[in-house]
Symmetry: D2
Subunit: 360 residues, 4 copies
């Protein structure tokens, strides 16, 4: 259970609320941001719900949420502004999704982020961005800081790469998504990037998650290689509970015994996530399969089961991509992928299981 | 590489072919059925392909095929009838799929098998069959022999169950799919059933597979809990190489660390299988998720990435199903599932990767 | 809970016991063998335990057992002969293990079964058997029926192979272990073999398990590739509940994402199994690693955590073994393995967690 | 292949070596530390080995090493000081292991690190340290920075906890092992801790690994939840290639489908790691099983297959441990574990597969 205080709430009002919750027998965590939030995570939350906190002075909203991830599974209480509302403004779809610089993610339209695995030279970046925009993409994705298995592999272009990617994105009206590997890169990346990506190998990096929670920039959080969906939502809770409600989940395949594909894309995760949280979910069929032949059919499947969009590796000359060439598609295939996705979405939207689910 | 002899080929002609292949340096296996088939699986198959066997007396066709599964990965050689053609007749789509009592599977239309996990009483079976037919289903599925983890669990109704299911299917013009657990059940089941199912727990049961290869009845082969796609195709090769070309593959989820769903539905397997073999592939979103809420979105995804149809657990009163109640949907949801599937298929068919793939 | 009737119990006495258990509210399964056994698997077994069945006429013993596998988790009640006792005779260690033709398995000594993956020619088999005996082995293992992924791979020598292996075993005073793939092979194999093996790929083959339960021959039951320990014990329950109490479990590695070894040897399973059941457990480090370099250290580890012995692939010329050459060790290494195992066992036996565990 | 330059090598000598290697067609990475090291990781390293670099002015040693992890798989070339030698001094066992404040790890003796999951109050820490020392332990382990799934769980005591643990360790002559979660904690932790631990959830955190490579403090690197052994060695290479040769590997269980234990302890990894690298390896049977009943047998198994020691959770009152209570043993069991380990090691040491292996 989450208690959102008014931005104008006084310390005295906060103390009163805490006292009432103590009397109801719950554990609490106070989170300070624009406003104070109190997360009640243990004990008798049912009693706390009945304790009348809802009507106390300085309280903006009381939000139900389940288990160890109250904020990412929170739904607004009737008549109050909920967490999602905070993120998206009062008028628009309160249940799921939010906006990033005027583009909806998790709303009725689809969100497509595409680009090379690693930032390349300015000419190549410009050419790729032009193709992404022409295909109907929403954002350019390109890595400037690369998490590599080997210390001897190319580690990315750093800030110079971010500047190159930003120029290419701006020239074609695209948002920019790029990965950060540690907290020291956040202030630099924030100068260039619209959505900060957390890679699969950093999903458990709680120091990084907490720092991203202090940022105002939306975060794209990839699922860990062997992370359960519960752990993934807990990672999102680290970010949201630290004050940043705009987290985008991204399924990118898990590690199993199967070797015909690089990873096993767990599309079951899409309806499970939609049932449990209001956060939007993208699918990355490039890492999820590891082979370009399978990107298009799996992109179709992702949209069909309810993904809010796709994260895709594309290059004007896929075989010459600086990394992940085997899973990188060409611009023509990207157009087909986006056209397919729109056609499948038009064939009927998946019910919003989240809004139907009963959450205690 | 596969050499199909004419049904009228003499032993002398067969011996000549064998001699030519020996000279080309390959290993061989002779398979006797309506006609003799010679599978060349090792050595220098390229040389064998160039050896002129194609034009020898008594040879009906020479079919390229890859690795250890030449027959399930075989494609017809130009100007000859291939394996698929043998199964389906000369006129229709030679590349993929075949007919079962006049219904195409793997062709342009979709194939829906639905019904209860276990056969129930005649009234319930009749009611369920009526609903399956009304929803647009192709076949009734119902288990009379059940593979249960515990020896104390309900083991199915046996032959009486098959008779009940057959009556229900006939009354509504449906095909009947049912599982066999060992070779002794094949003659009994063949009296009632149109498609003999091999369950996930029996995928490696080579004695059963070989016996099913001697049957004329099509076989629905589920993927094993931890079977690689290669092993699954090898299991199909057991059946096809023993003389039965009509094998239907069925992805039903693999075992991973994730516990939010009963299994992890590996939809990557759909395009991988379509690339490697002409055999049709169904998806079972009931076992693939284990929870009825997720059946509809995952059925959509399965069709979107190229599945030829679905295998679904449905019951007129899901909570009272004799087994697998948690993953069983109701008739209304089945209608939505089939309507969704048709709409997604209409939104554009997946390219037939198999027909484009280069197979050595 | 298991009720063992006296061999002399009358049908009237059996009916009285059943009535008493019905009154106590449990589900029952009657198993007919040398004596009648009644397995109470559901409902209020605590009430059943208090119902006084223990003292009724014709009742030989009442044995506690947990969950869905009452017989393999059964322990004898004080003052009565338990399931294990039935198998092993009244005098010796009642808690764990049993004898096979006079050799203990699961007792204080270790049990070593070694030999080639597949039966080879008589000279090779004789040479290998001589080495196994000289190294201190208890049994010869050799496959005559081989479960192969590909239908084109060598499928074993069948009955001729069994005869060859039997002669080799007899000449050196060894027991013989060999695999059966389906029920039709049981009568043939029983003529030659002391312990019938169920391979990992057949662990879920309930038809085969049930038939083996009707045999008097001990069964070596390998764990399935992706079987949980619970499922493995349920497979053992199929055999024991059908009347054959002498089941030997064998851990042989499970399937995971790791590719440095062929399988991941799950030695955790050894103490888990020892805690839950009186059945003995062997470990197969040959399949568990897939590479001969790792067989010796993992054999050491297996004994150190409480395995009752080892199943090992050995050949006088490992590189020429007909199958599984990469994981086959030579006779010198076998001597080191057995010497290591005895030294580690002498360094202190693992506590018998099973006899300490509290089972409801 | 690694070329170690003399500490006195001039830039001109370095340039000559680089030129020779370029001529031999390899890729290179220059690593600057006390001395310059040149890692040649791609191309024709055989030609490079034959290129005569070994005898060039300023070259201290040329060390063979395999694939993408030349430094952790490096072995000294005959007659020169190798990487391991650099770490351990000229006199002692050059092949494996090194010293930490005078205590060998990876040598002939065993290394035992034990203590509570989280630092507790000073009295409890003192009592636990006394027990660890009395049992024969080498190091106290206790977490002050805790990586928790939930942001609402106890996150550890931070620097105050480190000070408490240091005092307890010093009072009983123990080394101190403690985890760091990000680079900012390294300078603080270095004031108190002898061995800096990287947890399983941070194994892929290359920013952290690189910073630890700049430290002089030994690093205990746990295997990631779903990390292959190759990836784990690559993580070690990040640390070693950045200048810190003293890395201790620690197997702690991987994530699989089995739920009877918290993780699946992959003891196969012990001989695999011993074959591939000179780095010492510990095993953590506490996390590897998740249940205290299984800690003792699995600790025995770990030593039996060649582990250099153990990392164990122990508490004077296990049920009251602040975290991981279910897998925490009591002091009496710790004594048994260490006594068992010494007895098993005395029963015969595993051959050093590493020193026998042929590495290209």
């Amino acid at each position: 259970m989450i208690v959102l205080m008014e931005p104008t709430a006084t310390e005295g009002q906060i103390a009163d609320v805490v006292e009432r919750l103590i009397a109801a027998g719950v554990s609490m965590q106070r989170l300070d941001g624009d406003r104070v939030t109190i997360a009640a995570t243990g004990g008798n939350t049912a009693a706390a719900g009945d304790s009348g906190v809802d009507g106390m002075a300085g309280v903006a909203a009381v939000i139900a949420g389940s288990g160890g991830t109250p904020m990412v599974t929170a739904r607004e209480s009737p008549g109050n502004g909920g967490v999602a509302t905070l993120a998206t403004g009062p008028a628009a779809r309160p249940e799921r999704g939010f906006q990033v610089r005027g583009r909806w993610i998790g709303g009725t339209g689809l969100f497509f982020a595409a680009g090379p695995c690693s930032v390349e030279d300015p000419e190549t970046m410009a050419a790729i961005a032009a193709e992404v925009a022409a295909a109907g993409g929403t954002a350019l994705r390109a890595g400037a800081y690369k998490p590599r298995s080997s210390p001897y592999s190319f580690q990315g272009m750093g800030e110079a790469g971010l500047a190159t990617a930003r120029s290419a994105a701006d020239a074609h009206g695209l948002l920019l998504v790029s990965e950060v590997l540690d907290a020291t890169q956040i202030p630099i990346a924030t100068r260039y990037v619209d959505i900060l990506q957390v890679g699969a190998r950093n999903m458990y990096n709680t120091s990084l998650l907490r720092e991203l929670g202090r940022s105002r920039r939306p975060v794209l959080l990839k699922r860990g290689l062997a992370a359960t969906i519960d752990e993934w939502l807990s990672a999102a809770e680290y970010i949201v509970s630290a004050g940043n409600p705009r987290v985008i989940l991204c399924e990118r395949g898990i590690r199993t015994f199967e070797t015909a594909t690089r990873n096993t894309l767990d599309l079951n995760a899409v309806p499970v996530v939609r049932e449990r949280t209001h956060l939007p979910i993208l699918v990355d069929p490039s890492h999820g399969t590891g082979l370009r032949t399978y990107v298009r059919p799996m992109a179709r499947a992702a949209i069909a089961c309810g993904a809010d969009g796709l994260l895709i590796e594309v290059h004007t000359d896929p075989d010459r991509a600086l990394s992940d060439a085997a899973q990188t598609i060409d611009p023509l295939t990207l157009r087909q992928v986006i056209r397919d996705a729109e056609a499948i979405r038009a064939a009927g939207e998946v019910d919003d299981a989240y809004s139907r689910a009963t959450i205690g």
